[in-house]
């Protein structure tokens, strides 16, 4: 991974607020991150941590109202996506940034053939003729490992299994050779053995195509296997970010540490009792003035409830948003 390379995507202070009947929901609070060329950034967090909303905000995929992307900039190369008009935005989506969604059943249109859906972006963005697009679609299906590709183009989504449908989704996202691929929980709806197939496929595609990937998941195991860097989100904020080995070997935020410990292991000693994180995730009713994790944190003190900690660098590209110093700690 070229360390000093200019990022393909640079997000600064992104803030998204939803207007609901019972008041505002501050789903994303000052999220900043970057993505280098060819890198795989894993984004982990529980439901409601803001990981999906962050990525949807980037590409203006959220309906407004209720969503309002209030602040921040999203630089794709030297252009700010948040300042783009509808036409430019349309050219970015699908052409420069591909998106793979969680549920392969609902994100494919059931009344169009798979071939039509792969050819659609090719014809819209690349100006290909029908014949060219069809050839390219065959190549893409072969690339994602669907046997008998040419014949399968005329099949409908229901004729594919869950794993195969997710392969089709990946083929569509890759159709126009995007610089960035955003995958939102792409394997969560799949069985473990099928998930293993998709993970192998992604590893292979990275080697072949070299695009940068943002991979959203709640499964730390998946991240450990494929990511270069990991970003942990909680309560609409980034609480920790760093190289994947660094973060797993020496997690700095109490939330990351607790999360890693609550997961039962497949090997080694069986713990008699699982460790838990007591309490519930926060309700994001207003702009945070305290650390979102403070109510559940074992290391919280009064400062944590008065002030929202900012991310601070702790070396080797690893940063954490916490006042507590984890070094030398055992818990």
């Amino acid at each position: 991974m070229p360390d000093g390379a200019t990022p393909v995507l640079d997000v600064k202070n992104l803030k998204t607020v939803f207007a609901t009947r019972s008041g505002e929901v501050h789903a994303v609070n000052s999220v900043s991150f970057h993505l280098r060329p060819g890198e795989l950034l894993g984004v982990v967090g529980e439901s409601g941590s803001g990981k999906s909303v962050t990525m949807m905000s980037l590409l203006g995929l959220l309906p407004s109202p209720p969503a309002d992307v209030r602040e921040g900039s999203v630089m794709l190369g030297d252009r700010d996506i948040l300042q783009m008009g509808a036409e430019d935005l349309r050219a970015v989506r699908g052409r420069e940034v591909g998106f793979v969604f969680q549920d392969p059943m609902t994100s494919l249109n059931p009344v169009f053939t798979v071939g039509f859906q792969i050819m659609e972006p090719l014809r819209a963005h690349m100006g290909m003729t029908k014949a060219q697009a069809r050839d390219r679609a065959v190549d893409l299906l072969e690339l994602v490992g669907i046997p008998d590709a040419r014949r399968r183009l005329d099949d409908y989504p229901h004729q594919f299994s869950g794993g195969m449908r997710q392969r089709v989704m990946i083929a569509i996202a890759l159709a126009c050779d995007p610089k960035v691929l955003i995958a939102d929980e792409p394997t969560t709806a799949l069985d473990v053995t099928i998930q293993a197939q998709i993970l192998e496929l992604v590893k292979e595609l990275r080697k072949k195509l070299g695009m940068a990937i943002i991979w959203i998941t709640h499964d730390l195991g998946v991240i450990a296997g494929i990511a270069d860097r990991v970003m942990v989100m909680y309560g609409g904020q980034v609480v920790e970010q760093g190289p994947v080995r660094e973060v797993f070997a020496d997690p700095a935020h109490p939330y990351t540490r607790a999360l890693l410990r609550t997961m039962p292991k497949l090997h080694g000693e069986r713990e008699p009792k699982l460790r838990v994180i007591e309490g519930q995730p926060p309700i994001l009713g207003r702009h945070p003035t305290a650390c979102p994790f403070s109510a559940r944190c074992a290391h919280s003190h009064d400062r944590c409830t008065r002030e929202n900690p900012q991310r601070r660098d702790i070396g080797q590209g690893h940063d954490v948003a916490c006042f507590w110093d984890h070094r030398g700690a055992t818990a």
């Binding site: 473990v192 998930q195 991240i223 497949l266 995730p281």
Partner: protein
């Protein structure tokens, strides 16, 4: 746990859902969701059932409680064959066997209060007075860690983890002996999963409960179960005590399944030899001839495509249904049919 008796005995249980077709809607086939499974669950233990979606694990759980009428086979709970009970006798039996469902959203009536939901089994099966009932409801809410003040709230006011606690309290209301937990944590966040699993374990030791714990989460099953049964396409392919199964899986499917679980440790992930299975699970309406796993098995032999493997006990409490194992243990019986496909000269030499 050697002296413990089997609370639940399942013998050759089959559950086939008929497929109707043609002009006259005649039965044209069957989905063999559960196709001849046998196992025991000992009193006070947790039997984990693992497998991928569509392998029949949830159907098996429901059939064990006779929520579906079994096509063939028998289930006896506490010495009574529940398949033969009449409707009144079955109703009397119901309090001893309960279920916790996967989706706490869908399994709670949105128009009933928490007290109503937890109290409904008490209305149906006991003749407690109103105050006695309320005392019992409060007791149950305490047991599962729900605040008593919330008794008159509706399910929508609770988070997923709390809703699952309501479902557990309802299952506990009639002092059951046996609870089928059908993916009770699958819909919950990681940090909430641990809370619910700890609660289930605590209740088990407090009330001496016996669990059948159905899950696709292999790490969690390793934590909670005493013994584990692995299902594939309606059949149990391997049963073993939990430590043994995870340390020494014998069936190629169990091996592949375990190797497919991603581990939250980048250094382990790097060196792990992952067995990636090709293809998908075949349709249970048309399972392959021979071994059900033969279409995806990395160690498939000729015999697997024609003959169904017998279940063989490889060690006390550890049974496997695979031709590889059958051959290793009884070289003589399967004889020459599969011998040339496996390097097993040593055993053959010994036998000869």
């Amino acid at each position: 746990m050697t002296a413990k008796r089997a609370l639940v005995q399942v013998r050759d249980l089959k559950l086939h859902f008929p497929i109707y077709g043609g002009l006259l809607r005649r039965q044209v086939g069957a989905i063999k969701a559960v196709d001849g499974i046998s196992f025991d669950i000992l009193e006070g233990e947790t039997l984990g059932i693992v497998g991928e979606s569509g392998c029949g694990k949830s159907t098996a759980g429901r059939a064990v409680l006779r929520l579906y009428e079994a096509t063939a086979g028998s289930v006896s709970i506490d010495g009574e064959d529940i398949g033969k009970l009449g409707s009144e006798a079955l109703r009397k039996k119901r309090p001893t066997m309960q279920m916790v469902f996967q989706d706490p959203q869908a399994s709670l009536n949105p128009r009933m209060t928490v007290a109503g939901i937890i109290g409904e089994p008490l209305d149906e099966h006991t003749s407690l007075s109103k105050t006695e009932k309320l005392t019992r409801i409060y007791e149950l809410m305490d047991a599962v860690g729900l605040n008593r003040d919330f008794a008159n709230r509706y399910p929508h006011a609770f988070s997923g983890g709390q809703r699952q606690r309501i479902g557990i309290a309802r299952a506990l209301a009639l002092n059951p002996k046996f609870i089928v937990c059908d993916e009770p944590i699958a819909a919950l966040d990681v940090s909430i999963q641990a809370q619910v699993v700890n609660l289930l374990e605590e209740l088990q030791s407090r009330f001496g409960l016996t669990y059948m714990f159905i899950s696709h989460d292999l790490s969690m099953v390793r934590h909670i179960a005493d013994r584990v049964a692995v299902m594939y396409l309606g059949k149990i392919v391997e049963v073993a005590p939990v430590e043994r199964l995870y340390a020494n899986p014998q069936h190629p499917y169990t091996e592949a399944l375990l190797s497919a679980v991603p581990e939250p440790d980048p250094s382990l992930e790097g060196q792990k030899a992952r067995i990636v299975l090709v293809g998908d699970v075949p349709s249970p309406a048309n399972p392959p001839k021979g071994c059900n796993f033969c279409t995806r098995c990395p160690k498939v032999m000729d015999i697997c495509r024609s003959v169904k493997p017998e279940t063989v006990e490889v060690a006390p409490g550890h049974s496997v249904a695979c031709h590889l194992i059958a051959q290793q243990s009884t070289t003589g019986r399967t004889g020459g049919t599969g011998a040339e496909h496996k390097p097993m000269t040593n055993q053959q030499g010994e036998v000869a």
